[in-house]
């Protein structure tokens, strides 16, 4: 385990540890989908634990919806298996999977009132009328919209429709809820508010949630674990901190959060890790003592901007550093961002907390960019064994 992880975000890590102790609710095994010659999802495996909030994150077209729809039973897999509570569910019809789903466009039935929309799953389960009335009103109160029960969906605002869709999904207490970009169509304020509501619902219901979003902030704040997808493949599954601090691939490093990714050369093994040179600034020799990547596989290093210090004076011995010229400084409030050109490639980005009287460095100054040696995060070559 990398020491970086232990210093940062200890709580979430613990939460994930707790989850691994729980039963596996949903198991996806070598699940694949082809459309003719086109592969929408290569054989992928994923376990989701009881009560977990797992987010599928990835660029457009990476297969998130495809995976979700197969779990729901709305798209027939080309291969592989789906297990719910340990039982094979691959060919169970959607109505029998005990799954709820919130669609991106809400998919409220336009010809039914809000009440009837929410009552629909209960009627399908032949719940007695009195119970239906009670349950519908209970969830309507939960989403704070009891006064719209007799309206048709058209007569609601986007945010209200979204909450009705949520209410319809939780009214029958499905044990798994799937959400495909449920907040995608909403403005920022509503999105923030509903994020909290969803998170609270998750806590109080203890449901397993599989969530899809494009929004990084949403992903990081809501998820217990993240499943990173690219080109119809699962790139990495882990807690938000796992993905942020120890991405397995360059794609992961670049996709989540900001990062500087630099190619390295002349890699050799040294004191438990590796040492290498950067083809910048006169090939200074540096080391990454904690790297677990074999020297032959090491290709690049990743440095998060907030790990870097910008100083005029040379750093201490325990630091790796490069020299450069400040190309730009952007003051964003609590953080000041420096862009330092090192002679080749794009300038390195460094972020530092702003302190009063921080006027020592100006554009055009020669500076050192430095970072503790053990924070040098090494990325393996693509295709190298992990």
């Amino acid at each position: 385990m990398n020491p970086i992880q232990e210093t940062a975000g200890r709580q979430t890590v613990d939460a994930a540890r707790n989850l691994t102790g729980r039963a596996v609710k949903l198991q996806v095994e070598k699940l694949a989908k082809h459309y003719g010659e086109f592969t929408a999802l290569s054989p992928s495996s994923l376990d989701v634990h009881q009560g977990e909030f797992l987010t599928l994150l990835g660029p457009s077209g990476s297969g998130k919806t495809t995976l979700l729809m197969m779990v729901a039973g709305l798209v027939v897999p080309s291969g592989g298996e789906i297990r719910i509570d340990g039982r094979v569910a691959t060919s169970v019809p959607p109505s029998k999977r005990d799954i709820g789903m919130v669609f991106q466009n809400y998919a409220l039935f336009p010809h039914l009132t809000v009440f009837e929309n929410i009552a629909f799953p209960l009627r399908m389960r032949r719940v007695p009328e009195a119970q239906i009335r009670k349950d519908v009103m209970r969830v309507l109160e939960m989403v704070e919209l009891p006064h719209v029960a007799e309206r048709v969906p058209r007569a609601l605002s986007g945010g209200q429709q979204q909450r009705i869709a949520l209410a319809r999904c939780i009214v029958y207490a499905p044990s798994i809820i799937l959400m495909d970009e449920p907040l995608g169509a909403l403005d920022k304020r509503l999105r923030d508010q509903l994020q909290i509501e969803i998170k609270n619902l998750h806590k109080s219901l203890g449901t397993t949630i599989l969530y899809v979003t494009h929004d990084q902030q949403e992903t990081l704040t809501m998820s217990d674990r993240i499943c990173l997808m690219n080109h119809g493949r699962i790139e990495q599954v882990g807690t938000p901190t796992d993905l942020y601090f120890t991405p397995k691939t360059e794609f992961g490093a670049a996709f989540l959060g900001e990062s500087n990714i630099l190619p390295i050369a002349d890699v050799t093994a040294s004191d438990g890790g590796i040492s290498f040179t950067l083809p910048l600034d006169g090939h200074v020799r540096m080391s990454a003592p904690h790297s677990t990547v074999a020297p032959a596989d090491a290709a690049k290093i990743m440095l998060r901007p907030e790990w870097l210090s910008v100083t005029v004076a040379p750093p201490q011995e325990a630091f790796n550093s490069v020299r450069g010229k400040v190309a730009d400084i952007i003051f964003t409030g609590e953080v000041t961002r420096y862009f330092v050109s090192t002679g080749s490639g794009t300038p390195l980005a460094a972020s530092q907390l702003t302190r009063p009287g921080d006027r020592a460095i100006n554009v055009g100054d020669d500076v050192y960019i430095s970072w503790p040696r053990e924070r040098t995060y090494v990325l393996a070559r693509e295709g190298a064994a992990a």
């Binding site: 729901a72 298996e81 060919s91 109505s95 709820g100 789903m101 998919a107 010809h111 029958y172």
Partner: protein, 615 residues
């Protein structure tokens, strides 16, 4: 042709189960495919096959050499092609301004103008041909007015010659041409013409170089369908043509109904079908099939043939010249200095010209139909103009004639049964075609739409031939089956259009919420698409109610339908009872059309409700 699923890469175990499930999902296509294979492909193939054998069942070219050795037959073919050609040219040229005005009007006006096109479109060919008999006859409307105005002394011969037939067939096929062209024009972005003008083109250039080329797919597919329909036409030529205007379908009817010469009739049918296929082939070379169909966009074929490249280059040069000429003319008329927003593609004077042209064409399309109404109250014993006096005599005669009443009842019963059957076959197929990927999709679509393309007369005699072998001639069942064949393409396209606009996620949501397949269909899908399905049903109903061709061959005695009864009366003696029946049919059509329009608006409203909530 296979309806089996694409091999969904059944990789792991259970591959067979998966393939089976995939097949089951596409199985609803099977009934309609089997139905058309049995009642359309098989009979037509048999009919065509007949023409290659002699009485002893030996292979022979005899029927064809007979066909081409006699000048009569070659002449008939020539007359048919000439008639189809002129009909196509006139109909498309006349249809264009109407389509232009409709496509460029605001919504309300557009709906009304469109309604004016639908009235003649859905009024039967027979009623319209009868109307032209009254208008063009020696003692018809036009002659009596011309004489009253002193334009001529003796009655002109407007009917029983080529001109009369041409007017009749053009009038018959014009509405279809307009509808097809409008459907393409509606998809042309209004801003393109404006963009052309901001880039320095005049209004004429904007029209000829931008709008017109983009509307060409509509023009070419209208031309194709008008030509194909005109080739197989016989109602109008029989009623309005003279002895010299015998067309190929009449020849087929004579050979089969009077001479009972099946092989020779088959040979003539091959000729007719051959003509149709040659036209298809030429069309494909020049325009490409991507241009066919309502939503056709001006798409360039991936590998244009040399012929079409030459054609394209020529037309670009021609359009440039036309554009410049129009610009000059507009400049002379002082119409080119108006602001852009003023109009869409022409100055105000040009757009007035469009409107006048469109107005006269619409008048030509609609007015003749209503001539039957006053005539039905005449006291004279012939359908003549001007009607004299006022009487309900002809309506009374209709109501008291057991023959007419039985024909009316048969028509309604058959139309109802046939459209029910059509819907039962077409709705499931439409679901599969819209929601599943199907191997050989275009071949399947071609088969399903073929009853619209294969000349109806060929379907009719092919059914007659097969039916006579199995005792279905003269039965209601036979008629219902035959009419279902004719209605399937219309119903299918109607339902497919509704489904294309239906948000499938609603069904998925219902399934996830616990509804089974049937529950989902009954509680969610059906309530939302019912207006569209009902209008498809009405389309099928009218198609059957209106049909003369199939009824002509496979009915007789008690199973006679209304159009057939009218046809027999019209070819024997033309009594004003026909005008009375025509009036009743027109009124019925107007009611159905109004109903369709109402359904369309309700349907649009419920689709809007779906679209509205996703914002």
């Amino acid at each position: 042709m296979s309806v089996v699923a694409p091999p969904d890469h059944p990789s792991s175990g259970g591959g067979w189960a998966r393939a089976l499930a995939a097949f089951a999902r596409r199985a609803p296509l099977l009934p309609v495919l089997i139905f058309l294979a049995l009642l359309m492909v098989w009979p037509v193939a048999q009919l065509l096959g007949l023409s290659f054998f002699n009485d002893q069942g030996q292979l022979t070219w005899g029927h064809y050499s007979q066909l081409f050795s006699s000048r009569i037959y070659v002449e008939v073919l020539w007359i048919t092609v000439r008639l189809a050609f002129f009909t196509t040219v006139v109909a498309v040229i006349v249809a264009y301004p109407v389509a232009f005005v409709i496509a460029n009007s605001e919504n309300k006006v557009r709906a009304w103008l469109y309604f004016l096109v639908l009235i003649p479109f859905w009024t039967s060919f027979l009623v319209r041909a009868l109307a032209w008999m009254v208008l063009l006859g020696r003692n018809g409307t036009i002659n009596s007015w011309a004489q009253a105005l002193g334009l001529t002394d003796a009655p002109m011969s407007l009917i029983y010659n080529f001109a009369g037939v041409l007017i009749g067939t053009t009038h018959a096929l014009l509405p279809m041409a307009i509808i097809i062209i409008v459907s393409v024009m509606e998809n042309i972005d209004q801003n393109l013409s404006k963009a052309a003008m901001t880039m320095g083109g005049g209004r004429g250039t904007a029209f000829w170089r931008v709008f017109f080329p983009l509307s060409l797919p509509g023009v070419t597919s209208a031309a194709l369908l008008v030509f194909l329909s005109a080739l197989g036409f016989f109602i109008t030529p029989t009623l309005l043509g003279g002895r010299r205007e015998v067309v190929i379908s009449q020849l087929i009817i004579t050979e089969i109904q009077e001479m009972l010469n099946w092989p020779f009739g088959g040979a003539v049918s091959v000729l007719l079908l051959g003509c149709a296929l040659v036209i298809f082939w030429l069309y494909d070379r020049l325009a490409g099939f991507s241009a066919l169909g309502a939503a056709a966009q001006a798409r360039v074929a991936a590998e244009p043939s040399r012929l079409s490249r030459v054609f394209a280059r020529l037309s670009i040069a021609l359009l440039g010249v036309l554009g410049r000429i129009t610009d000059r003319l507009l400049a002379l008329a002082g119409a080119d200095s108006r602001p852009l927003e003023d109009s869409r593609t022409g100055g105000r004077s040009a757009s007035l010209a469009w409107k006048v042209a469109a107005g006269s064409v619409l008048f030509f399309a609609c007015a003749p139909i209503f001539i039957m109404i006053p005539v039905s109250f005449t006291q004279k014993a012939v359908m003549e103009w001007p009607p004299s006096g006022f009487t309900f005599e002809w309506y009374r005669m209709y109501l008291q004639s057991p023959q007419w009443i039985s024909a009316t009842v048969t028509s309604f019963t058959v139309a109802f049964a046939a459209s029910l059957l059509t819907m039962a076959l077409a709705v499931p197929a439409a679901f599969v075609l819209i929601r599943q990927t199907v191997v050989g999709r275009s071949a399947i679509m071609a088969l399903l739409l073929s009853p619209m393309v294969v000349p109806r007369i060929i379907i009719a005699i092919a059914l007659f031939y097969v039916y006579s072998g199995i005792g279905l001639v003269g039965t209601t069942v036979g008629l219902v089956l035959g009419h279902a064949v004719l209605s399937i393409p219309y119903a299918l396209m109607g339902v497919m259009t509704v489904l294309r606009n239906y948000d499938e996620r609603l069904d998925q949501a219902a399934q996830i919420l616990g509804a089974g397949k049937t529950q989902t269909f009954v509680r969610i899908t059906l309530p939302l698409i019912r207006f569209g399905v009902l209008s498809a049903f009405l389309l099928a109903f009218i198609t059957s109610f209106d049909d003369l061709t199939v009824s002509l061959f496979i009915t007789g005695g008690l199973s006679t339908t209304l159009p057939k009864q009218m046809w027999e009366d019209a070819t024997l003696q033309v009594s004003p009872v026909l005008a009375a029946v025509s009036t009743l049919i027109i009124v019925f059509m107007l009611v159905v059309l109004a109903l369709l329009e109402w359904l369309r608006r309700r349907g649009e409203a419920s689709l809007k409700a779906q679209a509205g909530q996703s914002q």
